[in-house]
C-alpha cells in the first residue's frame, strides 16, 4: 500500500473586508469625476474621504449606496457584489446623505419608530427613546419636521441611522449644521460604533471629526489629481 500523502494544512479562508471597492469610475459626459478608485472598509474601522468641493466624495458615496450608477468598477459587501435592491444590503447599510427628507405629517418620534419597526427591532420604542435622548431631541419628539431647525433636522437624520440595525454607516458630511456640542457627540458616537465592530465610511470637511474618528483618510482630490 503506497504511503498516503500528507494533506497540506489549508490556509485559513481569507475574510473579505466589509466593503471593498475596486476600480470605481464615474464619468459625467466628457468629465471623469472618479477615475479608478480602490477602497476598503473593515469591520470596526472608520475610513474618511476628504478633499476639496467637487472632488467626488459624495459621488463615491452615491455609487456605493446605489443612488448613482458607476461607469465602471466593482463594489462588494462581505465579498458579494453589492446590489442596493437586496433586502440584506438595505439592512446592512445605514445611509445619511444630503437628500434626507421626512414625512411632513409625522412627528420626530413617529419617524424614528417607523425606521426601527420597519427593520423589525423588537424593543423599538426603548431604542428610539435612548437615541432621542442621545441626540437631544426629547423636547422636540412631538414636533413635525417642518418646524425643526436645520441642525435639529440633521440630528433627526443621524438618529434615523442609529435606531436601526446596521453593519456599515455611510455618512455624507455628517457635521453639516451641527453645533460644537453636536460635533463632539457625533465623534464619540462614531467611535462607539467602531468599538462595536461596525464599519464607518464618511465624507467630511471637518478636520476635528476626521482626526477623532478615522483610522484611515483618503484624500479623493489628491487621488484624482494623480490619476489625471
Amino acid at each position: 500500500m503506497p504511503p498516503r500523502k500528507k494533506k497540506k494544512p489549508k490556509p485559513p479562508p481569507e475574510v473579505p473586508p466589509l466593503l471593498r471597492v475596486r476600480g470605481l469610475r464615474r464619468r459625467f459626459g466628457d468629465i471623469d469625476v472618479i477615475t479608478g478608485l480602490d477602497l476598503e472598509v473593515a469591520a470596526g474601522e472608520a475610513v474618511a474621504l476628504t478633499g476639496r468641493n467637487g472632488a467626488g466624495k459624495s459621488t463615491v458615496l452615491r455609487c456605493i449606496t446605489g443612488a448613482d450608477k458607476p461607469t465602471a468598477g466593482t463594489i462588494e459587501l462581505d465579498g458579494v457584489a453589492m446590489d442596493e435592491r437586496s433586502p440584506i444590503v438595505r439592512s446592512a447599510l445605514a445611509v445619511v446623505m444630503d437628500d434626507m427628507d421626512f414625512f411632513p405629517d409625522l412627528s420626530v418620534v413617529e419617524h424614528l419608530d417607523l425606521f426601527a419597526k420597519a427593520h423589525g427591532i423588537p424593543d423599538a420604542e426603548q431604542i428610539v427613546d435612548d437615541v432621542l435622548h442621545e441626540v437631544g431631541l426629547i423636547p422636540q419628539s412631538g414636533q413635525l419636521p417642518g418646524t425643526l431647525s436645520s441642525g435639529q433636522r440633521r440630528r433627526l437624520a443621524l438618529a434615523s441611522a442609529f435606531v436601526r440595525p446596521r453593519r456599515l454607516l455611510v455618512l455624507d458630511e455628517p457635521e453639516q449644521r451641527l453645533d460644537a456640542a453636536g460635533l463632539e457627540w457625533l465623534a464619540e458616537r462614531l467611535k462607539r460604533e467602531k468599538a462595536e465592530g461596525l464599519g464607518v465610511l464618511l465624507a467630511s470637511h471637518a478636520a476635528v471629526l476626521v482626526e477623532a474618528v478615522a483610522d484611515r483618510v483618503i484624500d479623493i482630490g489628491e487621488i484624482q489629481g494623480h490619476a489625471e
Partner: protein, 488 residues
Amino acid sequence: MTQIRALRSDIRHWRRGRATARFVDVLGDAYIALFATLMFGSMIVNVVVNVRREAGVMCTSAGCHEARTLMPWVIGLSGVVVVLAIARLFGPIFVSPAVGSWLLPTPVDRASVLRPRLIGTAFLATVLGGLLAAGASTLGGFPLASLLAFTGSAALLSLAVVSFAALSQSRAGLGSRVLLWLLSLAVWAGLLVLALKVGPVASPPELPTGWVIGLIAGAVAALAILVLAFRRLGRLGRHHISPGGSLAPGLSGALATLDLALVYDVLLAHRWHRHDAVRSRRGGPSGPKALVWLDLVRLRRSPQTVILLMAAVVVPYAAETAGVGRVVVLIGGLAGFVAGLPLLSALRVVTRTPSLLRAMPFPVASTRMATLAVPTGAMALFGLATFPAIHASINLTWTDSVIVSIAVGGASAAAAVRWVTGRPPDYTRPLVSTPAGGVPTNLYGSVVRGFDVLLLTTAPLLIFPSANGALFSLVVSFGVLSYLTGRE
C-alpha cells in the same frame, strides 16, 4: 411713522434710469396679454354657449331637467367655496418674501402697505366668483335677467366671504375656516338633494323688487365687511401674512413647469407647516405593516381626507339622477380619483424622497405597496358605495353592479397613483423646439397624467358595462398599479 407714499416716491426715484425694458416692449407685452385674454375668453364663451345649446336639445328627461336647473346653484356656490378656499390658502392677504423681510420690519404704516393687496384680492374674488356663476347660469339656460341677478349675487357673495376671511386672518382664520366648512356642506347638500331626487326644481332667480333690494342689501353688507377688514389691516402680524408669501413663489414655480405633483408637495408642506406639534402615536406592528399603521394614524390626524372621499360618493348618484347612463362609471371614477388624492400623501413623499425608500429594509415595491394599502382600501369602499347608482344607471343585476362598482374604485386608485407617482419634467433629455422655447417631451403629458389611466381603466366599463368588462378593468388597474409601484 414712515409714510408709505414717501417710500414709494423713493422707490420710483431709485428706479429712474434703471429700466430694463423699453416702452415699446411693455406695450407689446400688454398687447399680447390683452389679445390672449380676449382669444381664450371668447373660446371659453363659445364652448359654454355651444354646450348650453346641445344640453337644451338633448336634456329631455325629468331628471336631466331637474339637474339642469339645480346645478347652476350648486356650481355657483362651489365657485364661492373655491374662491374662499384659495383666499384662505394664501391668507387672503399676503406679501412677497422681499416685502416681508425688508419692508414689514421697518416703522412704515403696515395698513398702507397691505391696503392695495386687499383691494386686489377683493377685486379678483369678485370677478372669479362672478365668472363662475355666469358660466354655470349660462349652462343652466337662465334668461338674461336671471343670469345677471345670479352672477351679481355670486360676485357679491365672493366679495363678502373673502372680506370675512381677511377680517378673521388676525385670529388664525378660525371664522373663515368654519365658513368654508358650512359652505362646503351647503354644496354637498345641494348634490344630495339632486341625488335623492327629493328637491323641488330650482327656478332661476328673477329680478323682482325683492331680489333687487336683496342685491343692494348684499352689496352694502359685503362692502361693510370689506371696510371692517380695511380697518383691521394694521392688526395683522408678519406671521399672519408671511406664509402665504412664501407659498406663492413655490406654487408659481411648480405651475410654470406644469409639474402638478410638485404643486401637491408644496401644498402638503404648507398645510403641515402651520402645525407646531402633533400628539404622537406610538406602537403598531413591525415590517411593512408599520407604514400601513402610520397611514391609519394619518387618517385619525386629518380625518377631512376621508370625509372628502365619503362626501364625493354623492357625485355619481347626482349624475345618475341627471340621466347620464353608463357614463356614471367615468364620473364616479373621476370623483374618486380627485377626492382620493389627499389620501396618497405617504406614497407621494416616498416617491419624491429616495432617502426614505433607501432607509427601508424591503424592496421598493413593498414600501410603495404598503403606503397604498389604506388609500386603495378606502377607494375600493368608495367604489362599492356607488353600486346602487350604477345599478340604476346601467340596469345590471345587483351582483354585476357590485363588481362594476369595485372596478370603479380600482380605476380611481390607479388614476390617483399615476398622478402622484408622476416624474417631474426632465430638462436633461432632448427638448422639443416650440415657439415658447425648448420643452421637455414629458411636459405636455404631465397635464393629462392620471386622466389617461382613468380613461384606460374605465374604457372596458364604458364599452362593455358588465361583470366581464369590470373584471377586465380590474386587471388593467392592477397592472397599472403593479407597474407604477414596482418601477425604479
